[in-house]
């Protein structure tokens, strides 16, 4: 029996039909004017998508809305906190993006009219679009931890889970902490941004303590049941490099913090701390709530079509990166990869062709365990249109140990993904 290409219409339920229905509009818009794409958020998802839309089809008008004047990289921010790199190493320029023909708007997106297809900014700009791409990253649900907002306002409780001022603030607090102090780092239950990040952070802070404050302790209050990402690798490194310094306490969800007494309260215990770092639970960025695309059962993340990354709730709005509801890791690598799939799909749609129904996502992330050792995790996920899901391919997973070779690969990964996103 010869293999027949499956009927295009079979995809009607997957959102591809929606994409193609949108095509008629796009085509007529194309006849009158160039297709207009507005992208919100110039991170690993948004900046990459804007760039690749222009690279692959210079007929598309791309506007990129971003409030920050510079890019702060979350990848490598733990290295600043651990003192093995400086803030300058994680701050990158947006200056190359306009050269691709991207119109940069330095502003915050505050409103979406999905019927008229207009994005409104804080300064009152109204940006019409054929397709809107939301890549805002995460928003912290700080109200779920009693005392968090007060502690953060007082500068005593930091998440440092968006690179920027809090990255440096946490570094300063660790530097000011006396030897013999206790650093408490709390991470939320899944899903959230960068699952392996808290373990890397604990490792690199331990690296700093070992050299400068060897009597100090790190207590991890982990909302996960175990060291869930690169577990054997981190545990081996902690035993080898920092024996007795890191206490990992699983199933330990933080419910309360008192910045005056410096006590962190979990479901099981009170922990007295000298420096407090709590990563709160997260949801899709604020603009996703405004646009009405946080349409999973909890109203937290954004379900999308796996071919186009168009929202399953609101037509012509696409979502990328950490805000997406999926089984993919919420990582820089995945955001960059999703951005390219979305850009490629939109180019095909704008040009009257079928987007690739079988996109493939790769995810690689490195974590450092010392100033000279890192380890990777990698997995390939292929979209199955029948299941409407990305399926993990065999053998994905982490290296059992960190080493020097992977530290060099880790450095190369930083440079290459920054260049792929911003360069």
């Amino acid at each position: 029996m010869s293999m027949q290409r499956r009927d295009f219409l079979k995809f009607s339920a997957t959102g591809l039909a929606a994409a193609l229905a949108g095509l008629s509009t796009s085509r007529s818009a194309l006849a009158a004017a160039k297709p207009r794409v507005v992208v919100v958020g110039a991170g690993f998802g948004g900046a990459t998508c804007a760039k690749y839309l222009r690279l692959w089809d210079q007929n598309i008008e791309v506007t990129l809305v971003e409030p920050n004047d510079r890019f702060y990289s979350c990848p490598m921010s733990n290295w600043v906190i651990g003192g093995i790199r400086q803030m300058d190493d994680i701050i990158k320029s947006y200056d190359h993006l306009p050269g691709y023909g991207i119109k940069m708007v330095r502003d915050t997106a505050v409103g979406v009219d999905a019927d008229k297809r207009i994005l409104t900014t804080a300064k009152g700009d109204k940006l019409p679009y054929d397709r809107l791409i939301l890549a805002p990253g995460v928003e912290f649900m700080t109200d779920q931890i009693e005392g968090y907002a007060e502690g953060e306002a007082a500068g005593k409780v930091l998440h440092s889970w968006k690179a920027g001022p809090q990255t440096l603030a946490l570094r300063k607090q660790l530097e000011a902490m006396p030897d013999g102090g206790v650093f408490v780092i709390a991470s939320p239950p899944p899903p959230g941004r960068c699952v392996s990040g808290p373990y890397e952070r604990a490792s690199l802070v331990a690296h700093y303590f070992k050299q400068h404050k060897p009597k100090s302790k790190i207590i991890m209050l982990d909302g996960h049941f175990d060291v869930v990402s690169k577990g054997p690798m981190f545990k081996a490194a902690w035993k080898k490099y920092y024996p007795g310094m890191i206490e990992h306490r699983p199933y330990n969800l933080v419910t309360k913090v008192d910045h005056k007494s410096m006590v962190v309260t979990s479901e099981f215990e009170d922990v007295k701390a000298d420096v407090i770092n709590i990563v709160p639970k997260q949801r899709a960025g604020a603009i996703c709530g405004i646009a009405g695309v946080r349409s999973d059962s909890a109203g937290v993340w954004c379900p999308v079509d796996g071919v186009t990354y168009e929202s399953r709730r609101v037509r012509n709005i696409h979502v990328l990166g950490d805000s997406v509801a999926s089984n993919m890791p919420k990582s820089a690598h995945v955001s960059n990869n999703q951005a390219k799939i979305c850009a490629a799909a939109l180019v095909e749609i704008f040009n009257g062709r079928e987007p690739d129904p079988y996109p493939v996502i790769g995810s690689t992330s490195y974590s450092a365990t010392t100033d000279q050792t890192s380890g990777p995790i990698a997995v390939v996920m292929r979209y199955d249109p029948d299941k409407e899901a990305y399926i993990r391919q065999p053998m994905g997973g982490a290296a059992p140990e960190s080493d020097e070779i992977n530290f060099h690969y880790n450095l190369a990964w930083f440079e290459n993904i920054w260049a792929e996103t911003l360069g």
Binding site: M3, W56, N337, K340, Q393, N416
Partner: protein, 141 residues
């Protein structure tokens, strides 16, 4: 051959379109890539569909395979650098011999060649994808 020519030129065009790059090392690389204008024009006019192609066992229009290969190649660049030219210890893919790249993927998959992450990628791609990606990267001069 044609399929990958389109894709290759697209990737090359991609880097040429950038007036400046993040790092000085990258800037030299970009400047060295030859002008790809004709293929971009061809693509905008529409990909000829005289030959169907297979992905995941299903026949597809040629344009779908071009998009598929192009997008996976763009995934490779996250680690292997803009236009396949790495800025660090991860090897570059641009200009590597096609047969060498295909053999490397097969050896990564079987475990004959040791790797840190590449075995996990090799098992995720098909033999046809090895061929298409290898041809694409081999043709970047």
């Amino acid at each position: 051959m044609k399929l990958n020519k389109y894709v290759t030129c697209l990737l090359a065009a991609a880097s040429l379109a950038a007036p400046a790059t993040l790092l000085a090392a990258d800037a030299t690389v970009v400047a060295a890539i030859p002008a790809p204008a004709p293929a971009v024009a061809d693509l905008k006019a529409g990909i000829p569909e005289e030959k169907p192609c297979l992905i995941a066992g299903w026949e597809n229009p040629r344009s779908v395979c071009v998009a598929h290969t192009k997008t996976i190649a763009a995934t490779c660049l996250i680690c292997h650098g803009p236009n396949g030219r790495s800025l660090g210890a991860i090897p570059s893919l641009a200009g590597q011999d096609k047969a060498y790249l295909v053999a490397a993927m097969k050896d990564f998959k079987s475990g004959k060649r040791e790797s840190t992450v590449m075995q996990k990628y090799a098992v995720g791609y098909s033999d046809q994808e090895y061929e298409d990606l290898a041809e694409l990267f081999a043709s970047i001069k």
